[in-house]
């Protein structure tokens, strides 16, 4: 006879404010098999866990139900706690009384009744639980970095220095990403190439780093510790496309960003028809000493230096109507930088910056912006409504909202600081790696504050602008952070496998193969096995689960017509008992 313990967590007031936890404990004591029921303010805390362990010892409990927050948060915590007790860590059920009950209902009686149902189901399920055991799986101590810009290169260098082989995949023919396209970088006015090139050169020569440029990832299978990735390298000269499939223990997404195609969304700025209205990145090409004009700022229309330059910020950012609602984070500093460069390179020139706000939050950033104003940049607060050509000049119709007046500016060159966007193909690439993107297309981190460089997919990390717009300093910081996480993973001798996977009773399997197609992870194959039939030795076909690939989704168990497949930890019997408990049978 089972000896079940039920602990109901108050979760501070998160659960207790809406659910009558004391009444639940009292009711639980009457359920068959339950020999102990109690509540605690914070079951996950050290005192909470101590209380539970003491109860297990005193009442000789052999399985446990905890009514608390989502198992996503503390199931692992409680399993670890059980490792110190005689109870197998998988004889535990967590009933989600918070996210699925107290946090979505307001009415006391109804919420308590629902919580009682959830607990009763958990008790019914744990009654039928069987001990499960993890095993150790070897891992491949190699890392794949997708993206060869500063984020990917920095991550690769750090991982390589930790001693692990790294492959960097880059879809362009060269490394460097967007940073290599810049002229100078804020707030130090370092030349971008001068600080970036040494890192690229180091990556090219590092013993542990393999570069695959002009290449893209086309397929990813496997899971943490053992990914199989197919990389296609595009033809160079006459070689033809080549595909390789290699094994990696970890993947770092460092795919970077692209800038917005402003001409499509801002027809009022000329829609691309006005040659002297250019984007910030195009301006960087003009500024660059190795650019078409050897670093001289010249108008695209007539090749003459502009005397009046207008810079417009927030083109496509902070503009839900025409572009994106978010702030692209780097443009305020880029605008100040561009203003300083105009005023330095063209003596006697005038430079106007049209802004909504000035965001200069980094180290040395505010001082840099002040220096732009000291150099003579005129900051006008207001959006530019329209740009058109008149008598060879560009006319800007704008409003100075601090003066409360409309203004009309005749400029020779207009620079639009355009929004940063998720790069083309990121959603598809994310899908290959099993990672999700948000509504704006950026990759989702596991937690924005506490897990900024991890994803919800084990073994896949991210860094740099593909997670959201950011400057070079933050990108490099994230790249090193991701490398540290990879290092922690690859330093392990083996990975503990998750025992919540499918199991097959081969004597019941008819070899129909329905499960093979259903499995999203290609973890099932049909094999020929020896069997006996009417005393004779025969060969029959039966399904086989690959425990390294199985993620425990249960789709195969639902599809199996014979009931040969079942899911450990969520067996058919357990689920039916839950249903019975809910329906009070």
């Amino acid at each position: 006879m089972a000896r079940i313990g039920v602990i109901i967590c108050h979760c501070g007031t998160n659960i207790a404010a809406t659910v009558d936890v004391a009444a639940l404990a009292e009711a639980a004591r009457t359920w068959p098999g339950v020999v102990f029921a109690a509540t605690h303010q914070h079951a996950c805390s050290a005192p909470g866990q101590a209380m539970i362990k003491a109860a297990i010892a005193e009442y000789q409990l052999d399985r446990l139900v905890i009514g608390s927050c989502s198992p996503r948060l503390h199931e692992q915590t409680f399993r670890k706690m059980l490792a110190d007790t005689p109870i197998n860590p998988y004889l535990l059920e967590v009933a989600n009384l918070r996210e699925q009950c107290a946090w979505v209902h307001q009415e006391w009686a109804q919420a308590t009744a629902k919580a009682a149902d959830l607990l009763r189901m958990a008790v019914a399920k744990v009654r039928r639980a069987v001990p499960l055991f993890s095993s150790a799986m070897p891992l491949t101590k190699r890392c794949l970095v997708i993206g060869g810009g500063i984020a990917g290169v920095q991550a690769a260098l750090d991982i390589a220095e930790l001693g692990y082989p790294v492959t960097v995949v880059e879809r362009e023919p060269a490394l460097g990403g967007k940073m290599a396209l810049l002229d100078k970088t804020f707030p130090t006015m370092d030349c971008a190439a001068c600080i970036c090139e040494p890192k690229l050169a180091e990556a090219a020569h590092h013993d542990n780093i393999t570069l695959r440029t002009n290449s893209e990832v086309t397929a990813v299978s496997g899971c943490i510790g053992n990914f199989a990735v197919t990389i296609k390298s595009k033809a160079r000269v006459d070689n033809g496309d080549a595909c390789v499939t290699e094994q990696y223990g970890a993947i770092v997404m460092a795919a970077g960003y692209q800038t917005m195609d402003w001409a499509r969304h801002y027809p009022q700025y000329g829609g691309g028809r006005l040659a002297d209205v250019i984007s910030g990145l195009q301006f960087e090409q003009l500024l660059n000493a190795s650019g078409l004009s050897q670093g001289q700022i010249l108008r695209p229309s007539d090749g003459k230096p502009p005397q009046t330059v207008a810079i417009i910020k927030c083109v496509g950012s902070r503009d839900a109507a025409r572009g994106h609602a978010y702030c692209s984070r780097v443009c305020c500093m880029a605008a100040a930088k561009h203003a300083r460069q105009v005023l330095a390179k063209i003596p006697g020139s005038a430079c106007y910056v049209f802004y909504l706000d000035v965001r200069a939050a980094g180290k040395g950033y505010e001082e840099f912006y002040e220096a732009a104003r000291a150099d003579g940049a005129v900051y006008v607060r207001g959006r530019v409504a329209k740009i058109y050509r008149e008598n060879g000049k560009l006319m800007l119709l704008a409003e100075d909202t601090l003066l409360g007046r409309q203004l009309r500016l005749a400029a020779d060159l207009v620079v639009l600081e355009t929004a940063l966007e998720a790069p083309a193909g990121l959603r598809e690439l994310a899908g290959l790696a099993g990672v999700t993107t948000d509504a704006e297309g950026w990759l989702n981190e596991a937690h924005p504050k506490l897990k900024p460089v991890e994803t919800l997919t084990g073994g896949v990390f991210l860094c740099g602008a593909c997670q959201g717009p950011k400057d070079i300093a933050d990108t490099v910081a994230q790249a090193s952070a991701a490398a540290a996480k990879v290092g922690a993973l690859l330093a392990k001798d083996s990975l503990i496998t998750n025992p919540i996977i499918a199991a097959i009773a081969r004597e019941k399997c008819s070899g129909c193969g329905a499960c093979v197609g259903i499995c999203p992870y290609q973890a099932i194959s049909v094999k020929e096995i020896p069997a006996s039939y009417e005393g004779r030795e025969v060969v029959k076909r039966a399904a086989e689960i690959n425990p390294a690939l199985c993620r425990g989704c249960g789709a195969c168990a639902a599809a199996c017509r014979n009931g040969a497949l079942d899911l450990c930890g969520f067996s058919n019997r357990q689920i039916l008992e839950e249903v019975d408990a809910l329906c009070r049978i």
Partner: protein
Amino acid sequence: MKYSYFPGCSMGGSAIEYQKSLNYVNSKIGVELLEIPDWNCCGATAAQAVSRELALALPARNLALCEGQGLGLPLAVACAACYARLKAAARAARDDAAKMQRLLEMPLTGDVPIVSLMEVYAEQQACRALAAAIQRPLNQLKVACYYGCLYTRPTEVSGGKNAEDPQYMEELLALAGAAPVAWDFTTECCGAAHHVDMPEFCRPLLRDIYQNAREHGAQAIVTACPLCMMNLDMRQKRVNQEFHENFHLPVFFFTELLALALGASVKEAGIASHFTPAAGLFSAAREVL
């Protein structure tokens, strides 16, 4: 191709050339406009200065009369202000039927599709008929198509596809053999009725329109709104005086040019009565010079 029709106050008066030329075009391509009986002024800008309720009730009554006829046809509107006000009333009726009922005391669903004349001719069947009936193409006359501010904004009311560059007029005039220029002031305000009470602020707006049209090589400006036409055509001389300019830009209703291309005489198309001399663009044989 049949439509219910709301002419609005100017069509019989200050924009009589618009009515004349569109009648001609319709007769040539087989479009039939059925005027709503007992229609009233849409209120335009004047009613909005008096009261919100009046500004909604006036156009709403016209919609109710149209729906009441039960013809089930879309409603064609020639003037930009009438178009905008009728659309606003239709939207108000859909958003808050009870309030509209209290205001109007007539049944109104607001479901009648409301289209501008440009959309009437841009519709597939009309467009094909137009192309087939062209007799005297406009010889690549460079025209700046001017929509004014009300056809495409506010976008929640007009539901237009491209507020900055609608292209309806350009497509029609290209069919008629003209060469529309790409320019920047297609939807900038002409000053509208403020030329009456604040002329000194409004004339620079006209100057900008002429300047940009000229800068982009236009020989003429083409419009689809009676008030825009009046401002651009009638006030050009005064703008020239004030700014010491010599803009000589004839201004046309788009239907006048379509009528010409369909075979109308300068008089039949209404061009002879313009303020800014326009007939000079055409030879005695009504070919574009």
